[in-house]
């Protein structure tokens, strides 16, 4: 014990004596030093020859207009020793009018203590660098302001080689506040101010797949061509992926709203997460499955698939509560109208091992589809979205379908028409038997421009993009 005490004492004194927070501007990159909690108020770096005090760069003020221009250090702890820096003006112009104040600001109280006041610039000494040495001894957390003042004239204030005899104590990842000032209630390493679930150590962030409800519009006669009203099934969906502090998805909530069914077919709906093996999903809750269209594995995904397929409902008409005659619901303003039905799915993911990242379940891998009229092999996906293993591939290249799986081309006609479209926000859909181009007046321009024009075709941006009477 006696042997180790002097060594420990020496190490403590050494660390304390030499703790320095330094800014010599030699990064040449004000943005980098700002990221590390130096604040610049109308101050820049310069490497112009006659402005550099030492090395290749110094800090300079802008032109003087009466307002203070300052450089403020990060928070430092227990400053003790000599605060040193060098300063001068860039020219003699209005030298008598310039001043430099150095102030220590205490964290918490905001109390300010002037350490140095220099008002002795003259036309004769303005360009001679002053080596400042200021004794400082304080307990607590402080930051140092180096503040130039003046008015008019062309000369700039210059400063360089700042050395503060204190330990760097800012946290660049917490708005440059002093270290250990944030609260992390659940101890997951994410401060409460950033944590969407501050009381749950297993959860940290909401990551919405889509920030508002999106609409999915389907034609269900595939592989035959449809009537292009895209209302055989109309769904809104919104998916939130909740991640933990390691950026792995812990759970996802999916809201799926059946808005309209412009068909007599009993169509089901599911989505595949392309490339995600089914065992990465622990459980699925909230599915509305009454029949035998989908066979589930114990975790709620569809069985015998190589990627996770999550059935949502197996019959849109019965799910929305329609059992009447006719061909559909909520597609003809003079016909049947039923309140939309919302399914709420909760999907839990395996967080062990490599877990599931946001890239694994993203807007790229989300692959929604309908299953037509209880025929499990007859799926309708968005253009170029891969079918599931249960798809009847013999249907490709039949009737109106012009898919070319070898080229990754799926669910296209010979004119490259789709059977399904999704929009980035929730939109009104077409009334029965109305071509979508008659309701969305810029749709054709969008399509023939290859998507480069009118990418906002589904919004009513100018009030002239829609023909309201054709929409439901």
């Amino acid at each position: 014990m006696l042997r180790t005490l002097p060594l420990t004492l020496l190490l403590f004194l050494t660390a304390h004596t030499f703790a320095q927070t330094v800014l010599d501007m030699e990064s040449g990159n004000r943005n980098l030093d700002a990221a590390n909690c130096w604040s610049f108020h109308s101050m820049a770096y310069t490497n112009t020859g006659n402005m550099v005090i030492s090395g290749s760069f110094s800090a300079r003020t802008g032109s003087f207009k009466g307002q203070p221009q300052s450089l403020v250090s990060p928070w430092v702890k227990d400053p003790l020793g000599n605060l040193t820096f060098r300063h001068r003006l860039s020219s003699a112009d209005k030298a008598n009018n310039r001043q430099l104040h150095v102030i220590a600001e205490e964290f918490g109280s905001g109390k300010r203590d002037t350490l140095y006041a220099f008002a002795s610039y003259t036309p004769h000494n303005a360009m001679v660098a002053v080596d400042a040495h200021i004794g400082i001894s304080k307990n607590g957390v402080y930051r140092i302001h180096f503040s130039f003042t003046g008015n008019g004239g062309n000369s700039r204030g210059l400063i360089d080689d700042i050395e503060i005899p204190a330990q760097y104590y800012s946290d660049p990842m917490n708005q440059c506040l002093p270290q250990n000032t944030g609260t992390d209630s659940d101890g997951d390493g994410v401060l409460d101010s950033y944590d969407d679930y501050p009381q749950d150590v297993t959860l940290a962030f909401d990551n919405n797949l889509n920030v508002t409800y999106s609409t999915l519009l389907f034609e269900d006669l595939w592989p035959g061509k449809g009537d292009y009203d895209f209302n055989d099934m109309v769904l809104d969906y919104r998916i939130n992926r909740v991640t933990n502090a390691s950026n792995k998805i812990v759970r996802a909530s999916a809201h799926v709203v059946i808005r309209a069914v412009g068909a007599s077919y009993k169509n089901g709906f599911a989505f595949q997460i392309d490339g995600l093996i089914p065992s990465k999903i622990l459980t699925v809750e909230g599915q509305k499955l009454k029949g035998t269209l989908f066979t589930l594995a114990s975790n709620g995904t569809e069985s015998s698939q190589n990627a996770a397929v999550i059935p949502v409902f197996d019959d849109a008409l019965s799910t929305i509560g329609y059992s009447g005659a006719g061909t559909g619901v909520n597609v003809d303003k003079s016909g049947a109208s039923i309140a939309p039905d919302t399914s709420f799915l909760l999907i839990r993911f395996d967080t062990l091992g490599s877990g599931v990242s946001l890239s694994d379940f993203s807007g790229i891998t989300f692959n929604p589809f309908i299953v037509v009229n209880q025929n499990r092999g007859r799926e309708v996906h968005l253009v170029d979205h891969i079918p599931t293993l249960k798809m009847d591939k013999s249907l490709f290249r039949s009737q109106g379908d012009y898919s070319d799986p070898a080229r990754g081309k799926y669910f296209r006609t010979s004119n490259n028409h789709p059977w399904a479209i999704t929009t980035a926000s929730s939109i009104p859909y077409m009334q029965e038997k109305n071509d979508i181009t008659s309701g969305y007046l810029k749709f054709i321009d969008w399509a023939i421009s290859n998507g480069t024009e009118y990418s906002d075709w589904y919004n009513n941006t100018t009030g002239a993009y829609r023909s309201i009477e054709k929409l439901y």
Binding site: N174, D435, F443, N450
Partner: protein, 134 residues
């Protein structure tokens, strides 16, 4: 004479044959009137979302080497990405955002800046962008 005519005929034929390729925007007279008449390109994906490759270079940070929280927002300030990230590492991620979005807002530490989307890519850094000084 023949040496002038032959290239002229070839040029004429090339011009005529290249007028109506699928995916090219026809002139107003041949604009489709309905969906059935649309001839789309086979590389048109009918997608109102786009996939944006985001690359943000990191920086050497002082202080505790805890990961910070990186937040990416859209033009209406809605969060499109939120996660922990270590300052010294380059952040890469593919975002799916509405095709009409032209820029993203990046927040990390003291950084809070808008970076444009250019050809479905965002290239930038995690450093702040301080205003110019005269």
């Amino acid at each position: 004479m023949r040496s002038i005519l032959l290239p002229g005929i070839v040029l004429f034929l090339l011009t005529v044959s290249s007028c109506s390729k699928p995916g090219q925007k026809p002139d107003e007279n041949s604009r489709p009137e309905n969906f059935e008449d649309i001839e789309a390109s086979d590389n048109f994906d009918w997608n109102t979302f786009k996939h944006v490759e985001v690359t943000l270079t990191g920086f050497p940070a002082q202080g505790p080497q805890n990961p910070g929280v990186l937040i990416i927002r859209d033009d209406q300030n809605r969060v499109v990405y939120k996660g922990t990230h270590t300052a010294s590492e380059t952040f890469t991620h593919k975002l799916s955002v509405p095709a009409l979005l032209t820029a993203i807002r990046v927040q990390y530490g003291v950084t809070d800046k808008v970076i444009p989307i250019d050809h479905n890519t965002v290239n930038g850094s995690l450093l702040p962008q301080l205003p110019q000084v005269d």
